[in-house]
């Protein structure tokens, strides 16, 4: 299992990743936690355009993240399993 930590922008569509950290202010982090996006959660990237917005699957919900947001989210890609 590889342990590279990448920003969400670098992840291809269809990959399963684990959320490592959320950057940004208090308001942003609390909002994301409230929406069910916490550190350690497994998320699936449904569509990623490479440079900006992306859609992720958390639990059973689809979240759309804007440009500014995806850069601040760091994830660990799971290549082993």
């Amino acid at each position: 299992m590889e342990n590279t930590i990448l920003p969400l922008t670098a992840i291809h569509s269809g990959s399963l990743v684990t959320l490592v950290s959320i950057g940004g202010g208090r308001g942003v982090r609390l909002k994301l936690v409230g929406m069910g996006l916490g550190v350690g959660m497994r998320i699936k990237v449904l569509s990623s355009s490479g440079s900006g917005p992306c859609v992720i699957l958390v639990g059973n919900r689809r979240l759309a993240l804007g440009r500014g947001m995806t850069k601040k989210i760091l994830v660990r890609e799971e290549t082993g399993s």
Binding site: R26, L30, G34, P53, R62, A64, L65, G66, G68, M69
Partner: protein
């Protein structure tokens, strides 16, 4: 007498809360606003057994922090109105996340019932929830419901009544935050209970938690109360202490502990045998959100929205205008002539009501189309698709739809800006919407472009106006974001709900609520404005006309054509000598550098502040072309012929273009001003908007006219 129970529905967005609310109350609903803010307040009622149950549908929220208006409104409602029972609506297929709000509601009030909604979807997805165990772990009654199929509604009402009557043997669970946090909580609770007067309003433990979370609103409240400083000092100390131990801010810690409690409970009470499946929604999204097709499809949808609105509303508007004319004719024949009564009723009242009604089909259909986009789930996708482009404006994807709606009518557009959760982004959006060229401005463009440009280039000229509006909106938005509302906006995070086919009833409820709000807000203002214009153009009445028309009419009784020409002469001179005429003459020198120093146009522009399409009507009267019967052609000819006192022609293509640019950009109409006032809560922003847009309009027209002259176009 039946007993009254006040119930509040709280839940995440897309938890089926509104569907449940509709099931509970049927059409017995009332849409209003929470005091002081523009969050919609939807109330309804239901009679169950001997109880009269009033239900309030609270805004959809994920938590109860003070970061967004919706959340603030929700928790203030719970304190101020103190509903008897709070129903926490949760999406059974998203148990953990939905319960996050439930735990916060439980900390805030004793009487919570959980409605485990969308139980069928959860079962399909392979969730097995032990309802009894979950109820025991949380210490609250749980009812499973399927609002879309009307299941569990009776049982929910039954539980509401039971809880109200105190027949509940469960003991509410309390989330424990771990020794360190609990210690600080205790310290804060002690000091709070000894000193502050605020504690009487709020639950003690909750207040202490909020102090630890550094909640803006409550900290400010406590600070103002007696011994406030002491409490704040303790809170700061506690926060600092926790930060050094855990290396993270207490609010994030608390949020994580809450999740800990929830996932503990869920791992006992819920089993999942599911794998994440690619649903139909994902398949649709793989096309609608794709890089190549996403944007074109979205633009086609927007285009279809306008086609739908205008194609359908056109005949209805026609009927309304015919009806208005019929009423005005009828009233004109019945009413006495003296004291301006007839003119007040036909032009003022019927004209005023008419101009509100004429907007109604367009606005209603726009709202209907909007409700369809929202209910189907596509709206969230559209915002997402436009996010990248809107960033160049310093705005979010969510600002796009309100701005696009501005092309139809600025009023619903500004109302639609409510969906933007960051206050800075919302204000910026509201302030740039008036630059989006609404449908009411089109007749004015049509008049001047038709009169002075060849048919071959008329279309391009018109298109350039729309484009100019967008360019000015983009530039203004960047300026506002940089100087008026600096700072980073909330990043764009939005849930994409699964696609659903909207129900007719849901669409109608959505549309109706907004239409009523529109009529109340804009309708009254437009009506009042029309009456003011009527007054200004009809008074003072006892003027000596320089030409004695009446005797001229008497002298030529047989000449029908002559008589009608003379009557138009009266009308025109009446306006010239009225207050409106005087205002026009006073303003027109300021328009000289823009090329159109025609007092008639100045009167038209002044009247246009009430509603832009009035401009054409006013010019028609002032240029003595009579009523609409003779068509716009005569007015166009009159404009082309118009000369100054020195004999030079007033209008040429350059002047006309400068004028339409001015009409595009200058002060928003009264209805828009009124809506900006309502939506922002102060007079400051509508005033700012009027001054800013008019200044921009003057500058833009100045550049067009003077620049054009230098280039030799005039």
């Amino acid at each position: 007498m039946s007993k009254r129970i006040a119930v509040a529905l709280a839940g995440n967005p897309n938890s089926g809360k509104t569907t449940l609310f509709n099931r509970l109350t049927g059409m017995r609903q009332h849409v209003g606003n929470y005091p002081g803010v523009t969050v919609e307040k939807v109330e309804g009622s239901v009679t169950f057994k001997k109880y009269d149950i009033k239900v309030v549908d609270l805004p959809g929220t994920y938590s109860l922090t003070a970061y967004s208006i919706d959340e603030l409104v929700t928790r203030n409602f719970l304190f101020e109105e103190k509903p008897d029972v709070v129903v926490s609506v949760i999406d059974a297929s998203n148990l953990e996340r939905s319960l996050y709000l439930t735990t916060q509601l439980m900390e805030l009030t004793g009487r919570v019932i959980v409605a485990l909604n969308m139980a069928d979807t959860a079962a399909e997805l392979g969730f097995h929830i032990d309802q009894a165990l979950l109820s025991k772990l949380f210490g609250v009654p749980i009812v499973s419901t399927v609002a879309t199929r009307n299941k569990g509604i009776e049982e929910l009402l039954e539980k509401v009544v039971n809880l109200f009557e105190g027949q509940n043997c469960l003991e509410k669970a309390i989330v424990r935050y771990g020794d360190e946090i609990e210690q600080e909580l205790n310290a804060l609770q002690t000091i709070l209970s000894h000193h502050s007067s605020v504690v009487r309003e709020y639950p003690l433990r909750w207040l202490a938690l909020k102090m630890l979370e550094n909640d803006r609103e409550l900290t400010a409240k406590v600070e103002k109360s007696s011994h406030g400083e002491e409490i704040i000092r303790q809170a700061q100390k506690s926060r600092h202490h926790l930060q050094t131990i855990f290396g993270d801010t207490p609010d994030v810690l608390i949020a994580e502990r809450r999740y800990g409690f929830i996932s503990g409970a869920c791992s006992e009470a819920a089993r999942r045998s599911y794998e994440v499946r690619h649903t139909m929604s994902d398949k649709i999204d793989s096309i609608l959100l794709s890089r190549a097709l996403g944007l074109p499809i979205f633009l086609v949808v927007m285009w279809a929205l306008f086609r739908f609105t205008f194609t359908l509303s056109e005949p209805i508007v026609g009927w309304l205008e015919t009806g208005q004319g019929f009423f005005a004719d009828f009233a004109g024949r019945v009413l006495p002539h003296g004291y301006g009564v007839r003119s007040f009723v036909t032009e003022g009242v019927i004209g005023g009501v008419g101009s509100v009604l004429v907007f109604l089909p367009v606005v209603s259909l726009l709202f209907l189309a909007l409700a369809f986009l929202e209910d189907s789930g596509y709206m969230a996708r559209g915002a997402f698709i436009m996010d990248r482009f809107m960033h160049t404006m310093g705005l979010h994807g969510r600002s796009f739809v309100p701005m696009i709606l501005g092309f139809g009518c600025n009023v619903p557009a500004i109302m639609a800006a409510r969906s933007i959760d960051s206050a800075r982004d919302r204000l910026t959006t509201i302030l740039v919407i008036p630059f989006m060229s609404c449908a009411a401005r089109l007749p004015v463009y049509g008049l001047f472009i038709g009169a002075l440009f060849s048919e071959r280039i008329a279309g391009n000229v018109l298109f350039s106006l729309y484009l100019l509006g967008i360019v000015v909106a983009v530039a203004s938005s960047r300026i506002f974001r940089k100087y008026l509302f600096p700072g980073e906006g909330l990043p764009f995070v939005m849930e994409l709900p699964p696609y659903r086919f909207p129900t007719g009833k849901g669409l109608l409820i959505h549309m109706w609520g907004r239409v009523v709000l529109y009529v109340k807000k804009a309708g009254t203002v437009i009506l009042a404005g029309t009456l003011v214009v009527w007054f200004l153009s009809n008074f003072p009445q006892n003027v000596q006309y320089p030409t004695d028309y009446n005797s001229l009419i008497k002298e030529a009784p047989d000449d029908q054509q002559m008589a009608s020409q003379l009557k138009r002469g009266i009308e025109s001179e009446k306006i010239e000598n009225s207050y409106a005429g005087k205002i026009g003459k006073a303003i027109s020198p300021a328009l000289k550098p823009l090329g159109f120093d025609d007092w008639r146009v100045a009167v038209g522009l002044t009247g246009g502040i009430v509603a832009k399409e009035i401009i054409v009507g006013i010019l028609g009267t002032l240029y003595k072309t009579g009523a609409k019967k003779e068509g716009p052609q005569t007015l166009r000819d009159a404009l082309r012929r118009q000369v100054r006192t020195d004999g030079s022609k007033i209008y040429n293509p350059l002047v006309a273009y400068s004028l339409v640019v001015f009409v595009l950009l200058y002060a928003p109409c009264l209805a828009t001003v009124a809506v900006i006032r309502k939506e922002t809560g102060t007079w400051r922003w509508p005033m700012f908007s009027v001054v800013y847009t008019t200044a921009i309009a003057w500058i833009a027209s100045f550049i067009v006219y003077q620049g054009g002259k230098i280039l030799g176009l005039g």
